[in-house]
C-alpha cells in the first residue's frame, strides 16, 4: 500500500480526518515505520489549530520554537502566524496580539480598496455591537479595524473544527445534531437581540470547540463582506455578483436575500432552517440549481426528504417547523430563532447538568470530609464558599484551604502563608473546572445554567451584586479594551461588558512554567474569583502558592476601603 498523501497526513495529525480515512491511515501506520516517524515528528510539534496546548519539557526540544516567529509578517499590533482556515471571505490566520500578549484568530477580509472615513466609522460601530454580544455561543470578537488598507477582525482562537466538519464526521444521532444547532440558534438569537443579523449563517460559519460547545462566528461581517465582494467582483467583469451579493453559498440565502432586498432576522431563520434540514436529512432541501431556478424551487417547497430508518425517526413537528422556517414568504416564517427553536421541540436537558451535579456532589464530599480548614475568621459576613475542585486522577493536586485575612483588623491572619490581602473572597480551582462552571457564580443567579449557585458550596463571592449579571462565561473569553496594564508583571486585564477578567500567563515564578491564573473582578471592582492551576495535563506546579501570592499582590483591586475584608483561598499546593 502506498503511503498516505501529505494532505491526508495533515488531516490525520490534526484530528480532522474522517473516520474512514483515520482507519486507513492507522492500518498503514501499523506496518510503515517511515510514516510513523513522520507522524511522530509532527505530533511532537504544536499543531496549527491548537497552538496553546502546553508543551511539556519532557517531550519538547529544550527550547521549543515560538509558534509564530518573531520576524513574521505583522499587521499593526498583530504578528501573523499560519493560516488556519479560509473561505470566500478571507483567510483566517493564527496571530499573536503583541499588546495583550495572547493568541488570536485574525480574519483578513478581501478588500481591494482602502477602507476609510465613513466606512471605518461604521466598522467601529459594528465592532461595538459585536463587543456587546457576550454570549457563550458566539465567538468573541476582540478587535476589528483596518490596517494597511485591509479590513481585519481579531477573534478568539477556537480549538476545534467547523460544524460542517463535525457533521461530515457523522452520522450523529439526530438529537445530538439538534442540540448542536440549538446552541448555534441561541448564539444567533443573542445577536438578533442586539440588532445584528448574521446574513451568512451556514455550517461553515459555526465552530465546534473541542469540548463540544458550539460558537457562531463571522457575525455582522456579512454586510462588510458583501461590500468587499462587490468591489472585488467588479474588477472581474460584471455578472459574477451584483448588489444581490450572490457570492457565497446561495443555498442558505432566503429568497429576499437572493433578490437583493433588505433582510431581517427572518433571513437568518431561513438559513438556519436550511442548514438544520441539510444536517438532519443529509441532503439539501432544494436541489442544486442556478440562482434563478433556486427561487422557483424554494417557492415549490423542499424536495421530499429521503425515507430512511434514520430520517423516519425525526419527529413530524421538527420537520414541520423547518418547512415553516424555509417558507418562501418571510411573513410565513417564525418571527425569531427562539420561536423556531420552540417549534422544533422542547429543549432537552442541558448536557452539563449531570456534570454540574457531580461537581456539587464532589464539593459536598470535600466539605463533609473536613478538608475545609475553616477558622473563626470565616465570619458570618461571608456568604458562601465554593471549592469546585475536580481533578483528574493523573493530576492529583492536593487541595487545601487557608483563610487569609480577617474581617477584623485586630485579628491576625489565620494563615501565614499569604500576606494579608486586599481582596474579598477568592476561590481557586483548576482551570478546566473554571471552564465547566461559570466563573462568576455569586448568589442570586439569574442565569439558568448556574445551577451550582445557591447550594452550600456555591462559588465564593462577597462582591456586591453586580447590577447586571454576565452570562455564564467559558474560559478565555476576553474582550474589550485594556483597563489596567499590569506592566512589569507581564499581566494584562481586560474590561468585559460586565466584569473584569485577567489572565496571568505564564506564571510569575520564574521556575514555574506551568501555572496560569485566572481572575475575575466584579463590576463593583472587587475580585470575585481567582483560579490558579496548572494547564490541563501538565504536572502540578509546586510553586503555585507563591505564584498566587504574587499575582494577588500585583493586583490593584479593590478600592482601599475594602482592605481587611475576609477572604478565603483554595490553593493547590
Amino acid at each position: 500500500m502506498s503511503c498516505p498523501t501529505e494532505s491526508a497526513v495533515a488531516r490525520f495529525v490534526s484530528g480532522h480526518a474522517s473516520a474512514d480515512e483515520r482507519d486507513r491511515v492507522t492500518v498503514h501506520l501499523a506496518d510503515c515505520a517511515p510514516c510513523c516517524a513522520l507522524v511522530g515528528a509532527l505530533l511532537g510539534t504544536r499543531s496549527t489549530l491548537s497552538e496553546n496546548t502546553p508543551a511539556r519539557a519532557a517531550t519538547d526540544a529544550p527550547s521549543p520554537l515560538p509558534a509564530i516567529p518573531a520576524d513574521s509578517q505583522g499587521l499593526g499590533r498583530y504578528r501573523i502566524g499560519e493560516p488556519i482556515g479560509a473561505g470566500g471571505s478571507g483567510i483566517v490566520y493564527s496571530a499573536y496580539d503583541s499588546r495583550l500578549e495572547r493568541r488570536v484568530a485574525l480574519k483578513m477580509l478581501w478588500a481591494q480598496r482602502p477602507v476609510l472615513g465613513q466606512e471605518a466609522t461604521r466598522l467601529h460601530r459594528e465592532a461595538r455591537a459585536m463587543a456587546k454580544l457576550a454570549h457563550p455561543n458566539v465567538v468573541p470578537v476582540f478587535d476589528i479595524g483596518v490596517e494597511e488598507g485591509r479590513l481585519f477582525v481579531a477573534m478568539e482562537l477556537v480549538e476545534g473544527g467547523t460544524l460542517r466538519a463535525w457533521l461530515a464526521a457523522g452520522p450523529h444521532p439526530w438529537r445530538e445534531v439538534l442540540a448542536r444547532f440549538r446552541q448555534a440558534g441561541e448564539g444567533l438569537a443573542a445577536a438578533h437581540r442586539v440588532g445584528l443579523v448574521h446574513r451568512d449563517f451556514k455550517p461553515d460559519n459555526v465552530l465546534v470547540r473541542e469540548d463540544g460547545t458550539v460558537l457562531v462566528t463571522d457575525f455582522g461581517l456579512a454586510r462588510e463582506m458583501r461590500a468587499g465582494d462587490v468591489a472585488l467582483a467588479s474588477t472581474h467583469g460584471p455578472g459574477l455578483t451584483s448588489e444581490t451579493g450572490k457570492v457565497g453559498t446561495p443555498v442558505y440565502m432566503a429568497p429576499e436575500q437572493l433578490r437583493g432586498e433588505p433582510v431581517d432576522v427572518r433571513a437568518d431563520v431561513y438559513a438556519f432552517s436550511v442548514a438544520l434540514w441539510e444536517a438532519l436529512f443529509g441532503e439539501r432541501p432544494f436541489a442544486f440549481a442556478p440562482p434563478g431556478d433556486l427561487l422557483t424551487r424554494i417557492a415549490e417547497g423542499p424536495t421530499e426528504p429521503p425515507r430512511t430508518p434514520r430520517t423516519l425517526e425525526l419527529p413530524a413537528s421538527l420537520v414541520g417547523a423547518l418547512r415553516k422556517g424555509m417558507a418562501f414568504h418571510r411573513d410565513a416564517r417564525p418571527g425569531s430563532i427562539e420561536a423556531l427553536l420552540a417549534e422544533c421541540g422542547p429543549s432537552p436537558k442541558s448536557p452539563k447538568a449531570p456534570r454540574a451535579a457531580l461537581i456539587t456532589m464532589l464539593v459536598g464530599a470535600l466539605f463533609a470530609g473536613g478538608i475545609l480548614i475553616g477558622r473563626g475568621t470565616m465570619a458570618s459576613t461571608e456568604r458562601a464558599v465554593a471549592v469546585p475542585t475536580i481533578q483528574q486522577a493523573s493530576m492529583a493536586i492536593p487541595t487545601t484551604v487557608a483563610t487569609l485575612a480577617s474581617s477584623d483588623p485586630s485579628d491576625p491572619p489565620s494563615s501565614s502563608v499569604l500576606a494579608p490581602l486586599t481582596y474579598p473572597a477568592v476561590s481557586v480551582a483548576p482551570k478546566h473546572l473554571s471552564r465547566a462552571v461559570p466563573p462568576v457564580a455569586s448568589a442570586a443567579p439569574t442565569a439558568p445554567s448556574t445551577s451550582l449557585v445557591g447550594g452550600p458550596l456555591a462559588a465564593v463571592d462577597t462582591v456586591d451584586d453586580p447590577p447586571v449579571r454576565p452570562p455564564p462565561r467559558r474560559g478565555g473569553a476576553l474582550r474589550g479594551t485594556d483597563f489596567e496594564p499590569f506592566g512589569a508583571t507581564g499581566m494584562r486585564a481586560i474590561e468585559t461588558t460586565h466584569a473584569h477578567e485577567a489572565d496571568f500567563a505564564p506564571c510569575l515564578q520564574s521556575a514555574c512554567n506551568n501555572v496560569t491564573c485566572r481572575l475575575q473582578v466584579g463590576v463593583s471592582g472587587a475580585v470575585s474569583s481567582v483560579a490558579c492551576s496548572p494547564w490541563e495535563g501538565a504536572p502540578a506546579c509546586t510553586a503555585t502558592q507563591a505564584c498566587l501570592e504574587k499575582a494577588i499582590r500585583a493586583l490593584p483591586y479593590p478600592a482601599p476601603e475594602r482592605v481587611g475584608e475576609s477572604k478565603l483561598f483554595f490553593a493547590p499546593l
Binding site: 501529505e6 494532505s7 497526513v9 495533515a10 488531516r11 490525520f12 495529525v13 484530528g15 480532522h16 480526518a17 483515520r22 492507522t26 492500518v27 501506520l29 501499523a30 515505520a33 517511515p34 510513523c36 516517524a37 513522520l38 511522530g40 515528528a41 509532527l42 505530533l43 510539534t45 496549527t48 496546548t53 517531550t59 526540544a61 520554537l65 516567529p69 499560519e82 493560516p83 479560509a86 470566500g88 483567510i91 478581501w110 481591494q112 461553515d204 472585488l232 467582483a233 474588477t235 467583469g237 460584471p238 455578472g239 459574477l240 455578483t241 451584483s242 444581490t244 450572490k246 433578490r259 437583493g260 442544486f288 440549481a289 442556478p290 440562482p291 434563478g292 431556478d293 427561487l295 495535563g537
Partner: protein, 310 residues
C-alpha cells in the same frame, strides 16, 4: 461572460467549467446539465477572483487556474470542495503555471517557514545541515526534476498550504536522514543495540546470552498484535508519547488512548515472554528473574526493532 442576474442566466457561456472538463478526461460529469455548468462556472470564477484578490500582485488567468485545478478535482459534486483553501491553492497554481512573482510570494509566505518545520527532526549537529535540507526541500517544491514535476503541483487545496507543507517538509527531511544513516551503517558502524553498556553487567550478560533471541521474540510478539496496537506502539516509539496526541489521531479521548497503549504494551510484554520462554526452554520462574531486564530493554529495543524494519 456569464450574466448571473436573477432570472436572466445566460447558459451559453460557461467557459471555465468547460475548460475544467476538457482537462479532466473521462470525468463522469461530462453529462452535467447546463445549469450545473453555470453554477460550477460561477464557483470557479469566484475562486479565481478570491485568489486574485488574495495575491493582487500575481496575475494568473482563469484558464490557467482551472487547468491547475483539473488534476485535483473531486469526482463528485461539489467539484470544488467546500473546504477548498482558495487563496492557498491560487498561489500554488500560480507557481505551477509559472506566473511572474508567484514563487517569490510562495517563498516569502511559506518556504521561509521550512526551517521551523524541520527544526525538530534536523539538528544543527546532524551530518546534513538543517539549512541545506531546507534548501533542498524548497527546491523540490518549485523546481521540476528528473524524478518528476515540482511538488507544489501536488497541493490540492484541501487543507491549508502551511499544514501540507509542514508534512511534506518533515517527510523529506526524515527520508534524507534515513538515507544518510543507512549509508553510514553500511560503512560498518556496529549496531549499537549489541554494544555492551558497560554500566549494568546484568543487562550486558542478558544481551550477550539472549540478545538475538530476545529481538526475534519481540518481533514475533509485535507481529501478533492487531493493527491499531502496532500503530500505537510505533507512534509511541517514534516519539509521540502524549495521550492527547494519540487520542487525537485515533479519534478517541486521551484516557482511552492511554489505556489502549498500556494494553498494547502489556500484550507485547506477555507475547515476548511466551515466545522467549518457549525458545529458550526456560521456566516462568527463570523468566521472571530476567523480566526486569526485559522490561528495561523492551522500550529501547522496540524503537530499534521498529526503526530497523523500515
Amino acid at each position: 461572460m456569464v450574466n448571473a442576474a436573477i432570472g436572466d442566466v445566460n447558459f451559453d457561456v460557461v467557459q471555465l467549467a468547460q475548460n475544467l472538463f476538457a482537462h479532466v478526461p473521462d470525468h463522469h460529469f461530462r453529462d452535467a446539465t447546463e445549469s450545473d455548468l453555470a453554477m460550477l462556472d460561477a464557483r470557479l470564477r469566484e475562486c479565481h477572483a478570491v485568489g486574485s484578490a488574495a495575491w493582487p500582485d500575481i496575475s494568473l488567468s482563469g484558464e490557467d487556474f482551472v487547468e491547475a485545478l483539473a488534476p485535483h478535482v473531486e469526482t463528485e459534486w461539489p467539484i470544488v470542495p467546500t473546504d477548498f483553501h482558495t487563496a492557498d491553492f491560487f498561489l500554488a497554481a500560480a507557481c505551477v503555471k509559472g506566473a511572474p512573482g508567484a514563487v517569490v510570494a510562495l517563498e516569502h509566505s511559506f518556504l521561509a517557514r521550512i526551517p521551523d518545520y524541520i527544526a525538530r527532526v534536523c539538528r544543527p549537529s546532524d551530518r546534513e545541515r538543517p539549512e541545506d535540507v531546507a534548501q533542498n526541500i524548497a527546491e523540490r517544491l518549485v523546481v521540476p526534476s528528473a524524478a518528476g514535476p515540482a511538488r507544489i503541483a501536488e497541493y490540492s487545496g484541501r487543507g491549508p498550504l502551511g499544514g501540507w507543507l509542514r508534512v511534506l517538509s518533515v517527510r523529506i527531511a526524515l527520508n534524507t536522514k534515513r538515507g544518510k544513516s543507512r549509508f553510514t551503517s553500511l560503512e560498518g558502524r556496529p549496531d549499537r543495540y549489541d554494544a555492551p553498556t558497560g554500566v549494568d553487567p546484568e543487562i550486558d550478560l542478558f544481551r550477550l546470552k539472549y540478545g538475538a533471541e530476545f529481538k526475534c521474540a519481540l518481533e514475533a510478539a509485535f507481529a501478533s498484535l492487531d493493527t491499531e496496537q502496532r500503530a500505537l506502539l510505533r507512534l509511541y516509539a517514534a516519539g509521540s508519547q502524549r495521550g492527547e496526541d494519540l487520542g487525537k489521531v485515533l479519534g478517541v479521548d486521551r484516557s482511552t488512548a492511554t489505556r489502549r497503549l498500556a494494553r498494547a504494551r502489556a500484550h507485547l510484554f506477555a507475547f515476548t515472554k511466551r515466545a522467549l520462554t518457549a525458545k529458550l526452554g526456560i521456566t516462568t520462574g527463570e523468566f521472571d528473574s530476567i523480566a526486569r531486564v526485559v522490561h528495561s530493554r523492551i522500550e529501547l529495543t522496540l524503537s530499534r526493532v521498529l526503526g530497523s524494519r523500515a
